[in-house]
Symmetry: C2
Subunit: 211 residues, 2 copies
Amino acid sequence: MARTIGSNGARTAEAIRQAGVTLIYRHGYEAMSLRQLAAEVGLQSGSLYKYFDNKQSLLFDIVREHMADLLAKAEADLAGIDDPMARLKAFSAFHLRYHMQRMAHVFIANMEIRSLDDDHRAMVVGLRRRYENLLEDTLRAGAQAGVFRIAEPKVATYAIISMLTGICMWYRPGGRLSQDQLVDIYTGLVVDGVTGPQGLTAAAERHRALA
Amino acid sequence: MARTIGSNGARTAEAIRQAGVTLIYRHGYEAMSLRQLAAEVGLQSGSLYKYFDNKQSLLFDIVREHMADLLAKAEADLAGIDDPMARLKAFSAFHLRYHMQRMAHVFIANMEIRSLDDDHRAMVVGLRRRYENLLEDTLRAGAQAGVFRIAEPKVATYAIISMLTGICMWYRPGGRLSQDQLVDIYTGLVVDGVTGPQGLTAAAERHRALA
DNA sequence: TCAGGAAACAATCAAGCGTTCTTTTTTATT
DNA sequence: AATAAAAAAGAACGCTTGATTGTTTCCTGA
């Protein structure tokens, strides 16, 4: 046999992509063999090369597409929100929801960066930097307005993102807490962490009074 | 040639362990070949089997020893500290310092858990759970005393540990900020996050008044 | 001093890897 | 109905991998 009945290029390409995400998530990129991937899709390993140039480019496609999607959706979600506190909450909520819904993609993008060769890695890191800047800029703006008290916006950015991203280390759908509840809890931790023990500072009170 | 001059079993074993940590940190467990490891130590690949049963047990040894060390040192550090706030700060400081000093070990223990087979993984996860409980118990005690305002101690535990552990994703020795400064910044975020916007609650005030 | 154990080499194995190439079958176009 | 293009099979490739074995050399303690 050769071409199987009902076969379709676009459908197969999507199946390969999905199976790739699942297998890399479960076993890691290095540990996933192309024969394993092919079997998952119902193909011979050689046939995969109609859909990507090599194993590396499959990983890159998956990671880059995910990062681009994450960045685009975040920018769309924050568009039009100017108030730093509102932006912070929106970012936190978006990040959490996205990570709960696409755990496998997120996990791969975070874990397998080192498996990318230099050029590809640089591209992905660039996208990640742009994403982080969405938060960092918000933190700086809030600090300047006196709404946040943050000694080191860069450090706070890394800290917050690490905390939020950590949710996909343990979250499982159907658990005791709903996604909404988790968003509330995490966002509360974030907001309290950046507003400090006294809540709004004097500068923020002034800023408020003017508004 | 066979046995090289000045060779010593204990020294070689330690060299293998160290090289293993370095290579797994850099390339990942699956991507590290035993020939690569042997070359790093100055051995033939076959000689490695005098020091471990197989590749898997090398990884397990590294991870388990790290987790046991982390847990023991943390327990020692917190021993004698009863006040929840003091314990929280001590835990945070310990965790950060440990992670800044042994980034490679930490990274491996977090990333390569999935490369362990089921029994080994279960053992490591058990140790991790015990470590997490150090923090969770502290959070619960503090919440009960009214010093912390925490809706979900379990979630807060995961969130805090993720945030703190995240430091080894970007920290590099010799950077702009010293370890002490970073400990201050991160611990501040943690403390503010668990005390809430109003600082101490009414219950905490009562608790304080009694002391 | 000289045996016995420790340490390492050297060669080898089967299995699996990513990849390429050719062939066959199905689908779409005219 | 004829033909071209698309989709996949299947065989083969050179290599590397983790693992094993037998042998040689060195070290050390009685």
